[in-house]
Symmetry: C2
Subunit: 364 residues, 2 copies
Amino acid sequence: MKNKVRASLIRGGTSKGVFFDENAFLKNETERDSWLLSIMGSPDPSGMQLNGLGGGISSTSKVGLINRSERKNIDVNYLFGQVRLKEPKIDWKGSCGNLAAAVALYAIDERLVHSQPDGSAQVNIWQANLNYEIRVKIYPPNDKRFWISIPGVPGKNSAIYVDFINPSPSLLPNNQPIHVLNLPNGENIEATLICGANPTIFINALEIGLVGDELPGEFDFQKIEKLIQNICTEGAKIMQIPNTSAVRVAWVSSPKDYTASDGSVILAMECDILSRISTEGRVHHAHTGTGAINLACAAKIPESIPYKIVKNRTHSGPLRIAHPLGVMQVDANVVQEGKTSKWIALNSGFMRTAKILMVGNAYI
Amino acid sequence: MKNKVRASLIRGGTSKGVFFDENAFLKNETERDSWLLSIMGSPDPSGMQLNGLGGGISSTSKVGLINRSERKNIDVNYLFGQVRLKEPKIDWKGSCGNLAAAVALYAIDERLVHSQPDGSAQVNIWQANLNYEIRVKIYPPNDKRFWISIPGVPGKNSAIYVDFINPSPSLLPNNQPIHVLNLPNGENIEATLICGANPTIFINALEIGLVGDELPGEFDFQKIEKLIQNICTEGAKIMQIPNTSAVRVAWVSSPKDYTASDGSVILAMECDILSRISTEGRVHHAHTGTGAINLACAAKIPESIPYKIVKNRTHSGPLRIAHPLGVMQVDANVVQEGKTSKWIALNSGFMRTAKILMVGNAYI
């Protein structure tokens, strides 16, 4: 058995992931996963992943397997693994949109893609878990005019635009913007289910007794953990997908002023909708990228829960989503296909930054 | 400016740190610290260190600068830096005992020390912040008979014994086992102050309204944060040292059954004393190594607060300290010097494990 493997630890958006050449692993998936679990320090009953590269929260317990793609107009394939903290398990059913920005940096750093003389690059990624294309545009990294900051990450880094191309053959189960979830306790809750970049279930915060301005550091997630699980179970049934950690619940509400986790004040006038999204055992510290993509798509579909909140907004620019660390802007081009009237997203994207943190050998 | 520097990310005990060759940095300390802050992702208003290698808690936001030592019988010098999460600051005034085990692995991996054919090694480290010797013995890493588990880290790794040699010229300020701290609110609290491996202040848990079985995930540290700060301020005055993050407060109590953070049950009969130690903004998830060393020393000094709790214990083996993740055993040889009757520790040590997680280049 090898005891080390070449790896790159990279931040993408508000996530961190460890990236590997997919070919560095044997084709035996059980053995591959066991190596990756060991590298990341899972399972760990305390959830802290002290014995590995994982950071002890879902946003920093991610891996990506990358290889050169043989698909037309695609540079690399991106297989995403969400490494569980306390269980010996990696979920390969979802994706991480934030890390798509990191995949692009990895592809350039590992010379799978060539950049322009000014460092800019176009990287076309195949999201191999969910079978769609992600087009990533890297702005000239040494030109500080293109440096931006994103909420949740201090300082400025070079801008990276991440565009999800038609991420789903059909955004809505049965093409319906609203489904009623029948929960085990007899309650019925209205939900918008989006099978987009990742499956996401949107609930109006008020319907589950929340406001929408909850902060991860202050909010006791255990109070709603069972409810969230039940919503995921019922939603996954309707979407006809397995109920894995890739299924997230987001509760949304109308803009209001609130204080973000870093102490800054977010004004109602700076955003179009408040969103808080669930992640393993907690409220996400910012927002999942895929959840943001889905929210921007949902907000364009009449009668959906997000649509009802944003329908009176006075601009037609990107959707401004207020999360615990600030506001992110997300584009979406959503249309109904001619014959079937099915709602699809032509594309949807957002601006991110990324940073290579460490490159070398990770120990198994 | 360079944009990367050779680095090793290593777990030592229940901490993680990033280690560098001290000579890789310019002698300008301001520039060196600015590079290290950037590598670790500090300062970050959210405290998550997403833009660097830090793990967002004090136990995983540590750096070590290592070089070959010119001291007699010493292999390497170990300069420890505690990287603040939210402030642009590295504290160079304390040490991390857990990471001493990691320093030994680094020294062998970087060929600063030679191991025996069976992989075992003796590494003599100079603690350069505090000027004392740490002798680290690495048991044969490939011989599974020497593999152990330590509380807080899942699985087994090769045993490493970390022995602090005479870590302080005088353990007690004014050679007194008890000092009364006069707090700003008029309250007086009895404390045992140890200027040992790191400065630590021991309080009887009951005296500050606590039990001693508190768990980091459940206990609201904010309730006592001001009190802890006041205790540190007063304690530092008496110890005549600066009040940095290296000064910790531990509250101790008599053995009782409790459930540890990982769900396991710790029985009163398995331990000699319960201890909870403060760290930046929270209760430490396990126990600091230097705090454990100090506690084992204090427990041997009559009339100290730890001594009063353990004086009726029925064995003379290592002190069994129960922390939020389990029980650690700590040796201490404490004596009074002839002429002055000053209390000193000849040596004090504990068994740890460590693991190299990643070696390569860290990006600034």
